[in-house]
Amino acid sequence: MTIPTQPPDFDALGDEAFRAAVRTFLAGHHPRHLRNPAKRLHWDEARDWYLILASHGWLAPSWPRRYGGMGLSASKQLIYVDEFERFGAARLPDHGIILLGPLLIRHGSEEQKSHFLPKILSGEHIWCQGYSEPNAGSDLASLRTEAVLDGEEWVINGQKTWTTLAQDANWIFLLVRTAKGGKKQEGISFLLAPMDSPGITVRPILNIHRHDEFCEVFFDNVRVPKGNLVGEINRGWSMAKALLGFERIFLGSPRQSAHALARLKHLARHLGVWDDPVFCDRYTQLALDLADHNALFETFADRLRRGESLGPDVSLLKIHQSELFQRITDTMMEIAAEHAGLLDPIDGDRDLDPAGLFLTARAATIYGGSSEVQRNILAKSVLGLPS
């Protein structure tokens, strides 16, 4: 395992200098073959890149420096993510870095922090997230996986699903029901479990690309020590929810659509329809939607830069970005003619893969809170419409 070196002092850099530093770092270190991967990478594919980031102290932008993170301001975190996305950097198995780490830093015991955080940075612990269940998807608070205290151990029974890359993980953090009755959001706790615990079974689910991105994870009398509870018992829901604050802006990042629009342009040129006036009109509308999305994204980013927190209206970004992404790939399908039905990219060029990107885009309006759930939230929390 590579031990992270002390990261450079990013605070000393201005925003634009930092942006340049990120670009330089990516250009110098990102493995060429992992750029813009067509599917979510497994640990064995992503490990090298993970360890490169770790060894240079670039792995955990949001963590404080004292825990080995980059300690970036909101403004610099926005730049970090923007440049990574713009570059097409490969997405890591990052649940430990993005979700668990910040939660432990805020709610974990000193012992938990000193034990787990370094192992995330070193790549020794690869985490997966056990939240959703077959009957608790959009309605996550209905979860029924249960943990009962038996002496010094929690005994876990139940099933999780949509667990991204669970087959690669050696640890899972999960929400479990520890009390019944009352509001369903109450009585939920946050537990940590090693994936090699007896009683855990992992079944990969093929996604629509027939790639094993998700798993079902079954818990059959799985025992973990009492001390694997994070935070207070029965208070796991609000802890897990609070984590989705700042980060929700990234679900609305324009980069995914920008990338897709660039590919649409490339495809249109390849197919000879770039100068077709009807296509041009359609493309211009998409380009304007993207430009306005950029502007809207910046208004939310400005709030973060001013130190404000984001309200529920940030859901507007997620809805618009995911649906724009889909409209762009829908347009690809419309111009691709027979290529729209083929499995492989046109002429073997990964950048000419309308069908693949179209299928990928299907997920954007489902995961991370479906468009329907986001609209429900906006109707109630932002517009104050009655239920």
């Binding site: 309605d139 996604n207 691709a336 003619a337 027979e338 499995l343």
Partner: protein, 356 residues
Amino acid sequence: MSIDADRLENIRMIRDSAQAIAKRGDLRRARDWRDRSPGFDRAVWRSMGDLGWIGLRVEEADGGSGLGMLEFCALVEELGATLTPEPLIAAVAAVRLLGRNAGSDRLSGGRIVLLAWQERTGSLDPTGGASFAGGRLSGCKRFIPSADGVDEFLVTTESGLVLVPRDAAGLTVERSLGQDGGHLATLHFDGVQGELLPGDAGRVLDEAALATAAYLLGVIEGALALTVDYLKTRRQFDAPIGSFQALQHRVVDLTLQAALTRASVESAAACLDGGAVGAEAQAAVSRAKARASDAAMLVTRQAIQLHGGIGYTDECDVGLYLRKAMVLAPAYGGAALHRRRYAALQSPMDEVVDEP
């Protein structure tokens, strides 16, 4: 355009007979043949021959069933609803062109011949790609479905039709994988010996385009039926999700598209059966195929969304409908192509705008 009661009854019987092979709600065969050569079942093909489906559009005098486009579309719609993998549309087109030369072996399903007409993407021109001179065929044809499992190709050229066995010397078959788990072939002819037959593929391509629209209508209905069932059974927030008004209204809009597609396909079939030719027939076909292609993509996309996470998995059948639509929406011309053709036909608007 009204259809008389006897004919309606005939069409109902054809639909019933289709259930023997393509039972609504049962996608096991479709799933089973994915990514497996030849992508369909020759035993089922024989049954199709026995049922008279292959020669459906061949005159009775030539050994066929002599049925109309309404019957053909009704049958293919049933096949679409179950994602039946056998390449019936391309075979029906071939034997129809062969006419009295089709022969009982092909009509009964003993030998499988498919039409190979296409050179370029996004085109309905059957004359490009292959040329015939001095008794030899050269060039290439693309996008022939399930070519692994067939015996012959009927190749369109500017000079006429050429019948070529799959194992002919000088013929190379290159495969591309389809999103639906099937494969599409490119045929390369390098001086292949063959016999020239008379025939003009134009009308037959229109019939195949319309039949493809009918298959897509089946796809739409299959995806919609799955989705409505799912909405009735899946619960979230302590209620069946089908009770949520936003989802209800969306599925109503998809139902409307299904109804428009049915009306469009059936009226086009009636138009062709009524003897329409030329621009009138082409406009009717283009209208139906444009509608079916767009509606199939819309409905199957939305069907995924309405299924939520489960819809994005390979084990959920709804994705099979989407991936079939991805292959067939552009086949025999996609929506944009057919809209352009509709607009280019003489005074297409007079069909609908006839102010006195």
